[in-house]
């Protein structure tokens, strides 16, 4: 049986007292977003672009609260310049990124950003951790939440499943 990773990740966020969850919707994050929305201790913040999640995280941390940012790999391209803030001010944001453009991707337009995602994050000095299996996700998130450095946990497309365009 597949581990219930969204529930495990939500528990890891609650344990680390994460109060603010920025997100741009993604099918792979749907259940985790719903769990955060349903948690009275958390504010789930829907963003118009992933870049907003960086400013949100910086403000939250200035105010004493931890936040995470949920997005798909295409969103990593939207955060690049703002992500400099994480390094220059040392803001400990954890990004949880569902991957597109990997093996089995039907939509070839998703491939370039998917392939560039780890390199782009590393170029901005965001630590990259990759979860190839569902049971690896929550431990990696929990570990990242204990660190001072900005970290992205990449969830392989194989874990989420391939988006189908055929009904």
């Amino acid at each position: 049986m597949q581990p219930d990773w969204p529930q495990e990740v939500h528990r890891a966020l609650a344990t680390a007292r994460v109060r603010i969850v920025g997100y741009v919707p993604d099918a792979g994050h749907q259940r985790l977003i719903e769990l955060c929305q349903g948690d009275r201790e958390m504010r789930a913040v829907v963003l118009t672009t992933e870049e907003e999640g960086i400013g949100l995280a910086a403000g939250a941390w200035l105010g004493g609260e931890k936040s995470v940012l949920l997005m798909q790999s295409s969103g990593v391209g939207n955060v690049i310049n703002a992500a400099g803030l994480l390094k220059t001010c040392r803001i400990p944001l954890v990004m949880i990124v569902t991957m597109r453009g990997e093996a089995g991707e039907f939509n070839s337009w998703q491939v370039p950003m998917g392939e560039a995602t780890p390199a782009v994050l590393e170029a901005m000095d965001v630590r990259v951790r990759r979860a190839a299996r569902a049971d690896e996700i929550a431990p990696l998130v929990a570990d990242a939440l204990r660190q001072e450095q900005a970290t992205a946990v990449l969830i392989s497309q194989g874990v989420i499943g391939i988006k189908s365009f055929r009904q």
Partner: protein, 191 residues
């Protein structure tokens, strides 16, 4: 009557109490510093377009404190989507003030969209801000910043003038740490 940005910002920040202040990249960071550098200022030196979102994160984390974002028209234009995000969240303790000289002041005074009639207060109103207006009534603005239920938004039109730089500290970690210590006390170093 033409308003001058340094006078406007100084008036908005005088007797500020325990107000938390974020300023956007460029001239507004120099403006809040000219009005008096203090640990509860967070002047951005980068991440153009993010000032409003930094203010939102701060307002959500500190619901009992009043939060003011002072930014320029160019900086606000780059983060216009954040007005929609703030409109959804409805933080009652957040006010954004755009110091609008209709120019990109740091890059050669090129005209911004507001010089061509784009109405930022209209955008904020359409996004659901409780109050949103282009105004020169600084007294009203001060009471809005400290008392009115937000989110609030105001544009203050000012002269396009190149002023001497008044720079805040450059070290981002130092700016963040002094802000957190002033706001959170010893807990700032324990999280």
């Amino acid at each position: 009557m033409t308003l001058h940005r340094r006078k406007v910002v100084k008036a908005l920040l005088s007797e500020r109490g325990d107000l938390l202040v974020v300023a956007g990249l460029g001239s507004t960071s120099w403006d809040i510093t000219a009005a008096g550098d203090t640990p509860l200022n967070f002047p951005l030196w980068g991440a153009m377009g993010q000032a409003a979102m930094v203010g939102l994160g701060l307002a959500l984390a500190q619901p009992k404190r009043r939060v003011l974002v002072i930014t320029g028209d160019g900086e606000m234009l780059m983060g216009m989507g954040s007005l929609a995000t703030i409109g959804v969240l409805q933080p009652s303790n957040l006010t954004l003030v755009v110091i609008d000289n209709e120019r990109y002041g740091e890059t050669g005074m090129q005209k911004t969209h507001t010089a061509h009639g784009v109405d930022l207060a209209g955008v904020a109103r359409a996004c659901g801000f409780k109050f949103s207006k282009t105004t020169s009534d600084l007294k009203r603005l001060r009471s809005m910043i400290h008392e009115s239920t937000g989110p609030n938004f105001a544009v203050v039109k000012v002269a396009a003038e190149k002023l001497p730089l008044v720079l805040p500290p450059l070290d981002g970690v130092a700016l963040k740490d002094r802000f957190r210590r002033a706001l959170l006390g010893p807990q700032a170093d324990l999280d």
